[in-house]
Structure formats: structure tokens, C-alpha cells
Symmetry: C2
Subunit: 643 residues, 2 copies
């Protein structure tokens, strides 16, 4: 394969697949929900992250040993990777919106990073210097290949926005060093934290150098043979328990498993290995069916940041790391491009509205690391100048000792417009709904453009106006989410049913033609698979793609959410500032031992309207308790403790 368009502005750019992704120049978000969040990243998060990385010494690490540099490495062993993710985010951001000052900042950061590269291409500020551990001495925990992967991804992003430059030179030297060290004739190791795999494939896509793809395939095939040391968390933590081709589900550390899955899709696509593609798709599908929260969040264990067993999805202490949300989008997007299965866009939408949108504070200067679905004790008030050591629990924090999530969410949001649509063999597919413009060439080279106007997700009506076409026939496909029962599409005054996963309008469009998609977003109850013990006897409320929650801020308490009981027989309705359900608070006493004979009676609290708010809006009104899953009435009553 020849190198793909080096400046296409596409986060992922496979050489084959059912869908062809669009670049930043081809898809733009112009207003609305996501434009607001892109602005928060642009005006808040990028500077905030940079300031903290300077403050805690992560940028300074690149000048260790220099005259003005620090004497010792600061931060965790993977701190370099956060700087790289920030450069990646800034690169997409400068492709999204011209910003010469930011471009100069990137250039300065690139110079800083490049200055730390060794003559043989090695680049990591935590290893190999006097007093540091030797290079590659701790593949399981050292994160060296992981950091190299994020450096490569930053270079790929920068190249796809600004063309080849110094960062690509740095990254190719790193990649060549990796290939020399870990190639067929080198060390047979893998990194404890996958990331180098998708990065090397993207570098192959940018440079056309087959050796990077081969090295990525080597890493994929080497994993799963328990070559990493035994550990308390087991080999599954590293996805090193069984070979990728033998696994049936994602397991272990969620971000690691998902980054690996992204790399596996990339390797499968570029090497034409359809069996491998089917295998990783089946793993992801089973993960969605059995190991994913309603929000699309993944990872249910705090200790090892890991997937639980099938159906182990506790609401309280849900881990659902922001980075796992980002990583799951990366996997779903790759599978969507490779297979054309629009249902993967449903997954992306769910994660975006319920994990990604939840992660970031309104000013972009604080963020969630983990995303509980049930906050039993009120969130705390955190000082805005204090680094947090723990990752779980609310509220959003300005910085964590491990601050992967903010730059990770930033790189996704800065490039978000490219997830809106894709081209297929004949036409255009609109995959996400926002005020946006899409302007591209179809597979046969024809220029087409559409403009999307909508108040989505508040409202389910989307108007798609054709703004460029050559008058010939082409198909316009619109995703219909699985939840959108009763959806319709209106063309030329004719309204037709539109059922999931998509509706296609094929005609000789004229400029000015309007297609109107109606997606019913009325609030609805959702029940869990009965095998999910943690939320048995509960319902959740969703409205369109948005998961809702009950929140009880300390300033304006709603009540003891542990005792909230919702009437499942009365449909939730839209209210002035949220969704209303009918619910009450079950009686309870503290009679001591909390287990007793059942008495068969039912609870019947007085029911009143209770307002729910979008889950992504929680923890924005000061300390609060919160729950997504709402126990229903009636339910069996214990004999003595209650009533």
C-alpha cells in the first residue's frame, strides 16, 4: 500500500473497510451540545492540562540532565505519555480551528520532547539515565512501549493536520528503535500496557513503511503467552493470559484490553486477516453484551481497573474510567469503519453522551477519572490546587497523580467531528447528529455536502440539507438508534417509518433538498438483563441517547436516595428542567441486623413527582448523592427492619 493522504486529518485512516472516514476539514461541528464541549476543551482543558504538567514536572522531565533541567524524574513512570496525548489533542485542535499561538506551543513542546531523544532513537525520560532503571528492564510495569505509542500517535495526529515535520522524525526514529529492539531478531517481549500496537499501524498508514505494520502484528501475536511476570492481578490484567486469537471477551485492565483491541482491528484490516477481525469483533460484542454499563462505561473493578466477570456491573464503585470510554470509542469506530455495522455508532453515541460528556467540568478544568453510577455518600469539595492521589469517587478533580483522562478526552473531543459521518461505496452515511457541515467526495469522486441542523439530543428532529451535489443519484444513509422506536424520515413531504439501524434515501439530490429525520426522544424506562445482580429490581430512565439520574445535592436535598422507589407503571415525562418520574421514599428503620425473614408485604411509599437530570450533568451543584438505577415499587418487604 502507498502512504495514505498524510494531511487528511483523520484520527484513524485504514486502507480498506466498508466505510471511509472523513477528515477534520470534511466534517465540522458548528453549534450545539458538542460544540460547547469542544470550546471547553479549547478554552479550558488544554491550558489547564499544560499548566499542571508544568507544575508537577512532567514537561520538565524532558530536560533532565540539561543545564536548567531537573535532577530527577517526577511523576509516575508513564508521565511522558500525558505530554504526548496533550500534543495530540492540541494537534487535532489546531486542525479543527486555526490557532497560531497553539501551533507555536505545539512546536515548542515538540522541540522539548525531541531534545530528550537519544542518538539511537530511544526516548523515555524515566529510564536509562544514571540513577534510573535500565531501558526495557520492566516491560510489565515500565510503560516504555506505551509511551512510545502515544508519542507516535501524537506525531500521526500532527502530521495529518500539519504535514510531516520534526515530530514525525522523532516518532519514526523511536519506531525504528522499537523495531530494532523488538523485531523478529530482537527481544520477544510485549509491553504491559498495549498502545504501541495501534500506534505502529497508524505510523505505517502515514509513512507507508511496512516494517511498522509487521512490528505491530508481531506484538499482537506475541501477547497472550504469559511472557509477562506472574502478578497478583493475573496475566489477564495485561491481556497476556491467552492469545488474542483464542480469546472470546475483553478482560483484565479495561484500558489495556481496549487499546489492544484497537490495535488488533488495525492489524487485521491492514493485513487482510478477516478471521482476526471477526474474532476481535466478537470479543467486543460479547463485552458490550455482558461487561458494559448502561452508560457505555467499561471496567467494574477498582483494584485492577479491570473488567469484572460477565454481568458483574455494580453501580456503586463502578470504575468506568474516562480513558476506557475513550478507548471503547476508538475500538467501536474501527469496527464501524471495517464492517459498516452502524450499531457501533450507537455504542459511540452512548459513550459520548454518558461517559465523555460526564467526564469534564463545565470550565474544562476538572474531570472524573472513574464514573460511579451510584454515589451513596455526598461527593466532597475539592480544592482546585491539589493533586488527588486516589482515582475513584467524586467529584471531578483538577488533577490526579495519574492524569491520563483529561488529555485523552481532549484528543477525542478535538477530533470529534470526524466521527459524525463516513463515506461508503456509493454515498454518505450520517452517524451522529449535531449542528454540522459535511463536505466530502464520494467514492467515485463526486463532490457532495450536507448541512445538519438540530437541537439534538434535547430534541429528536434533525434536518439534513443538501448544500452541494452534482445532480446525479447517490444514497444518503442516516443512522436510526436502536432506542428510537417510531422514528420517521420525511423526504419531499412524504414521511416514512425509519427503523434501526439506519434508513437510506437514494435519489438525485438537488442543492437545497431537505431530509427530515425524526427520532422520538421521549423519556423511557430501561430494565437490565436479569443476570446483572447489582441492579435487579431497578429501572433506569433514558431520554434519547442520554442516561438520567436522581441527584440529591446537599444544598437542595431531594431525600435519602438509598430509599428512593420509583413507580414503574407511570411513564416518565419531560418537565421544565429535566425528566419527571413518580417516586417516593421507602420507610426504613435501623433495627440492627439487616437480614431477616421475608414477610411478603409490599412497600407503598407516597408517590410524588421527582425530577431526574442527565447523568452527564451530575456533580455540578456541589456535594451530592446520586443514583442511575432506581429501585421500583412494589417489592417484597422484610418483616422487621422496615415499616
Amino acid at each position: 500500500m502507498a502512504a495514505s493522504d498524510p494531511t487528511g486529518g483523520r484520527p484513524v485512516d485504514p486502507s480498506r473497510g466498508v466505510l471511509r472516514p472523513l477528515g477534520l476539514a470534511e466534517a465540522r461541528i458548528t453549534a450545539g451540545f458538542w460544540a460547547d464541549r469542544q470550546r471547553v476543551i479549547s478554552e479550558g482543558s488544554l491550558d489547564h492540562a499544560r499548566a499542571w504538567m508544568d507544575k508537577v514536572g512532567w514537561t520538565g522531565n524532558f530536560t533532565i540532565g540539561a543545564a536548567t533541567g531537573p535532577a530527577e524524574h517526577r511523576g509516575r513512570e508513564f508521565a511522558d505519555s500525558e505530554v504526548y496525548k496533550l500534543i495530540e489533542a492540541m494537534s487535532w485542535e489546531t486542525g479543527r480551528r486555526a490557532d497560531p499561538a497553539r501551533v507555536r506551543e505545539i512546536d515548542e513542546l515538540v522541540a522539548l520532547v525531541g531534545g530528550a531523544q537519544e542518538g539511537d532513537g530511544y526516548l523515555n525520560t524515566a529510564y536509562g539515565r544514571p540513577g534510573q532503571a535500565p531501558r526495557w528492564s520492566d516491560l510489565a510495569w515500565g510503560h516504555e512501549l506505551y509511551c512510545a505509542g502515544h508519542l507516535i500517535q501524537a506525531a500521526v495526529a500532527h502530521t495529518r493536520v500539519h504535514g510531516p515535520g520534526p515530530l514525525l522524525d522523532v516518532a519514526t526514529k523511536v519506531a525504528d528503535h522499537v523495531c530494532a529492539t523488538f523485531g523478529e531478531d530482537g527481544s520477544a517481549g510485549v509491553c504491559g500496557h498495549p498502545e504501541i500496537e495501534p500506534a505502529l499501524v497508524e505510523l505505517y498508514r502515514v509513512t507507508g513503511q511496512r516494517r511498522y505494520l509487521d512490528q505491530a502484528a508481531l506484538f499482537v501475536n506475541r501477547r497472550g503467552h504469559q511472557s509477562l511476570p506472574q502478578h497478583q492481578f493475573g496475566w489477564s490484567y495485561f491481556s497476556d493470559d491467552i492469545p488474542v486469537r483464542a480469546a472470546t471477551v475483553l478482560r483484565g485492565h479495561a484500558v489495556r484490553a481496549l487499546y489492544l483491541a484497537a490495535g488488533v482491528v488495525d492489524v487485521a484490516v491492514e493485513t487482510g486477516d478477516d478471521e482476526l477481525l471477526r474474532t476481535v469483533a466478537a470479543q467486543f460484542d460479547r463485552t458490550l453484551a455482558r461487561r458494559t454499563y448502561l452508560t457505555g462505561g467499561m471496567g467494574s473493578r477498582h483494584m485492577d481497573e479491570a473488567f469484572g466477570d460477565d454481568f458483574v456491573l455494580p453501580s456503586d464503585r463502578a470504575y468506568s474510567e474516562s480513558c476506557a470510554g475513550v478507548a471503547a470509542v476508538l475500538v467501536a469506530w474501527r469496527l464501524l469503519l471495517a464492517t459498516g455495522e452502524v450499531r457501533y455508532a450507537d455504542v459511540i453515541e452512548r459513550i459520548l453522551y454518558n461517559v465523555v460528556a460526564t467526564a469534564i467540568e463545565d470550565d474544562g478544568r476538572a474531570f472524573f477519572y472513574a464514573h460511579t453510577l451510584h454515589q451513596r455518600t455526598p461527593t466532597r469539595s475539592l480544592p482546585d490546587d491539589e493533586e488527588q492521589l486516589g482515582f475513584g469517587g467524586g467529584p471531578r478533580a483538577p488533577w490526579f497523580e495519574v492524569s491520563c483522562c483529561l488529555p485523552n478526552v481532549s484528543r477525542l473531543l478535538a477530533s470529534l467531528s470526524t466521527y459524525l459521518a463516513a463515506a461508503d461505496d456509493e454515498g454518505l452515511r450520517v452517524l451522529q447528529y449535531a449542528d454540522a457541515t459535511i463536505d466530502t467526495r464520494l467514492a467515485d469522486g463526486r463532490h457532495v455536502a450536507v448541512e445538519l441542523t438540530t437541537a439534538y439530543p434535547a430534541d429528536g428532529n434533525v434536518t439534513i440539507r443538501v448544500t452541494a451535489t452534482d445532480g446525479g443519484e447517490w444514497p444518503l444513509t442516516l443512522r436510526v438508534p436502536a432506542w428510537a422506536e417510531g422514528a420517521t424520515v420525511t423526504v419531499d413531504g412524504v414521511t416514512s417509518p425509519a427503523s434501526a439501524p439506519a434508513v437510506t434515501v437514494r435519489r438525485a439530490f438537488a442543492v437545497g433538498d431537505e431530509i427530515r429525520l425524526h427520532l422520538p426522544v421521549a423519556p423511557r424506562f430501561t430494565a437490565p438483563d436479569r443476570r446483572i445482580d447489582a441492579v435487579r429490581g431497578c429501572v433506569a430512565v433514558e431520554r434519547g441517547p442520554v442516561v438520567y439520574c436522581a441527584e440529591s445535592p446537599m444544598d437542595e436535598p431531594v431525600g435519602d436516595l438509598d430509599r428512593l422507589r420509583v413507580d414503574e407503571s407511570r411513564t416518565p415525562v419531560d418537565g421544565a428542567d429535566g425528566v419527571t418520574v413518580w417516586a417516593g421514599f421507602a420507610a426504613s428503620s435501623d433495627a440492627g441486623w439487616p437480614y431477616d425473614r421475608p414477610d411478603g408485604a409490599t412497600e407503598d411509599p407516597d408517590l410524588t413527582p421527582i425530577r431526574l437530570l442527565p447523568y452527564h450533568r451530575w456533580a455540578r451543584r456541589g456535594p451530592a448523592t446520586m443514583r442511575v438505577w432506581l429501585p421500583t415499587v412494589p417489592s417484597p418487604r422484610r418483616r422487621s427492619t422496615d415499616g
Copy 2:
């Protein structure tokens, strides 16, 4: 206070309280459920633990630097404490049953330990030598005071069985060194892991030296002021978040919190601080009401081995460490002695039958560290010569990198007979039921003895025969467990109702008199407090003090326990080899996304008799899945995924 009887053989020997504990010579278990387990410890666990401690170098650590000793410390920083707990277990065991060979083994171990003591009394094999961290350089994680505490407890046990000897000398030197280092004029620190607190009070009780009590009180009062370093787990991990007197519930690392609570009771009792006693009792009571599993197990979080928030009690991934069970018995026993509230004996019984009895393999040579209540994937087969690095998940393992649980359970079981009964102001209280003899003096000095005969807990009939008395009147009090509805007591052919927590028979007993207690142990359903989300819509089955479970061994599968549904309307009944419930398996399919609109239908699987077995018997038939809490039918059905 003068020193108490130094050879009374009592694990806890308070100078005041409503009840006076009995010693090993006064209460003996002669046959039955617990006699079997004491034999397993005696014939299996003690030698097994000793062999492993030799193999992994923990005993060898005491000869570091000696001519034939190892060059470096092996094992975790608290490995010394396991040797001490083993010496304590062996000491009780030699009080329970004469065993000259074991006595010699103890003497050898004591000589080994004593040989490592420094001239100033300091004794810890992991600190202070060349190449090791300095003494007291890491109070948070170093476990030095914790190890000193277990050494003191071993010396107290040995002294109470065999009288003062070399180990007591070693321990008092250690304690004096601790007092000199951490006294009023010394370092104001506390240990990250409590244990020194109850140990110093017991040493005070043995020696009469007030300085040990004062030092324990100092440690108790110092804790809770965030003097330990900030950590990812928070100060609550060390119970160092708020002062003991301000806390309302146990929190953080469960074993740490419980050992501290034991020490707090001891300090409160010996200093006459009734307010402190009420405070710690209230903390424990609230912990029982909101943070304790049905089994009596405590600790619901793997990451920090910690209590969860109120009502966060997941069945799968329950932590419920064996050591937390032992520690909770120590707290409950102290509160029972101090307050005379018999309900604490209910707690002890629950923990004994469902945590302690579950912990140990039938041959005593493997054990659980954590106790899940729901095993979703089959337990593994473990080699019997391999140390396990992880603590959670089944099955019982021969050894763990952290092997606190086996010696801890051993020291409790070896001294278990002393928990059977206690003396009150006037008479005798029988607190646990087993084939046993109790032979003691009442408060007024009269000699009384009774013999208990029972098949408990298989059968709920207990005969108490008076075997010694002086013919005068005295009250015999028998505990009636809270679950024992319909209990009766029969004296002289007259049967009367006996209600919880206890029934008292007061008369001028004659030798040969028999009192018959009848505790209905018929199987029963138990429902959880509705605020425990993890088991909403489920019931458990208990029979007497024993919690039951459904187990599906791979060799003889019962079915997919994730789909098991029990008919709550049909009372469970005793069967030939277990308890039978009527249950079926709900239909389910894997349609993909596991959340969908509720459809209001109910599930009605075909119901057949399903056998349950005692939870303490699980994981003894090879790899298996298991669950304690059983979802009930009917329950609301989701629309599309099921059926």
C-alpha cells in the same frame, strides 16, 4: 489493679465487665462440629503453616546475619507477625491438649525469635540492619508496631497456658522499647496497622505494669488526627481520618479497624472509660447493621481490603477476609464480656459457622483469604506446592504471599472452647452450643460444672446436665439465638417458651439435673435490608446459624446459577443431604445490548427441587460456581433479551 491469674488460659482477661471469661481448663469441647475443626488445626494446619514458613523463609528471617542465617529478609515486611501468630496458636493448642512435642517446638521457635532481639529490646527482622530501612522509618506501611503487637499476644498466650517464661521476657523488652520510643516524651506516631493497642492492654493484664495500658491509651487517642501520610486510599484506610471518639462506624481496612476496635474496648474497660466503651460499641453495632455480610463477614472492597459505604455489600467480589472474621470475633467477645449483651454471642456464632468454618480445607492444609458469596466463574484447581500472589477468588490455597489467615484462624480455633460460656455476677451463662464440659467457680467461689450434649447445629436440641454443684441456688442462663423462633426450655419435665436473647433457669440444681434446650433449626428464607442493592430481589436460606448456598460443581453441574430462580412461596425443607428449595432456571438469550425497555411480563421457569449445602461446605467438590443469595420468581421481565 494486680496482675490477673497469669495462667488462666483466657485469650482475653479484662479486670472488669459484666461477664468473667473462662480459661482453657474450664471449658472443653469434647466432640462434634468444632472438635472436628480443632483436630484439623491440631493435626494439619499448625504443621502445614510451620512447614511453609520455613520454606518461604519467614522463620529463617530471625537468623539474618547469623553464621548459618540468610543474607536477606524474605517475604513481606510483616512476615514476623505470622510466626508470632503461629506461636500463639501453638500455645493455645498446648493448653487445649497436652502435646510435649509441640511444647518443644514452641520453645525452639521462642529461642529463634529471642535470638533476633537487639540489646535495647527492638525486634523486627525487616528493619534496622545494614541494607534495611531504618527502624520506625515507615510507620504507615512498615508494620513494626503491628509485629510487636503480635509478638506480645503470643507471649500473653504462652504465659496464660504455661506461665511466665523466656517469651514473656522478650515481649516485655519489646514493649518497654515501644513505650520508650512512643511514650509521652517520645515520637507521637501510630502504626498504620493497629494491633499493638490490644496487645499492650493484655500485657498489662498479665504483668500488672500500668505503663503498657497507658501506652495503649496513648496510641488510641493519637489515632484519627491524620498523622500518617496521605494516601490513595485515604486516611480512613488506617482509621486515621477522625479520632476514635468522634467516629460512628468502622471504616477503611477492615482488619485494621477491627483490631483497633478490640484495643479500644480493652482501653475503655481497663481505664473505666464508659463513654469510650459506648462509642466503640455503637460503632460496631452500626457496622453490623450496615456493613456486614449475611455470613458475618466484613469488608466489601478488594482494592483496599476495606469496608464499603453503608449497604454496599456485593456478593460477587465480597472481600470478607478470614482475618476480619477472626478480628470481629475478638471485638464481639470483648463487648460481650464488658456489657453482658448476649446478642454479641449471636454475632460470634454467625462468624464461626460461616466465615471461620468456611476458611479451612478439610485437611487444614489450604484456606480462603477472601470469602466471596457468589462465584460466577468456576473456581480453579490449585497446585498444593505453589504460593498464591492474589488474595481473592477461590478455591482455598495452600499458601499466599500474605498468609495471615491460617495462623489467625488457628489461634482462634485452638482457644475456641473459652468462647462457649462465661460467668456472671451470680451464675453461669452458656453462649455457644457444642458437646462440651464446663467446670468453673461462680463469682462467690462455688464450684459448678455442666456437660453439654448436642448434635448442634445439625439438630437444635441441647441437653445441659449438671455435673457439679453445691446444692445451693444459682442461675444458669442459656443463649437463645435471634433466629430461634419457637425455642423452648424443658426443666423437670416442664417445657416453657424461651425467647431471644436468653433464658435463665434459676434453682438449687442437683448433680444429674438435666435442662433441655430446643432451638428450631428448620431451614428458613432470609431477606436483606432493601437498601442493600447487590441482593435486591433475592432471598438466602439459613438453617440454624448456618448460611446455605447453591453450588454447581463442574463434575456434577446443577445449572447456570446466574439464571437460578427460587420460589419464595415454598418453604425450604431438610433433605437427605442438605436443604431443598424449589427453583428453576430462567430463560435467557444473548441478544446483545443487555438493557432494554421493561415488558412487565414475569418469568416462570419450571420449578424442581434443588439441593443447597452449607456455605462452609462449598468449594470442597472441585471447581464449581456458587451463590448464597438466590433471585426469586416472579420478577419483572425485560422485553427482548429474555424469553
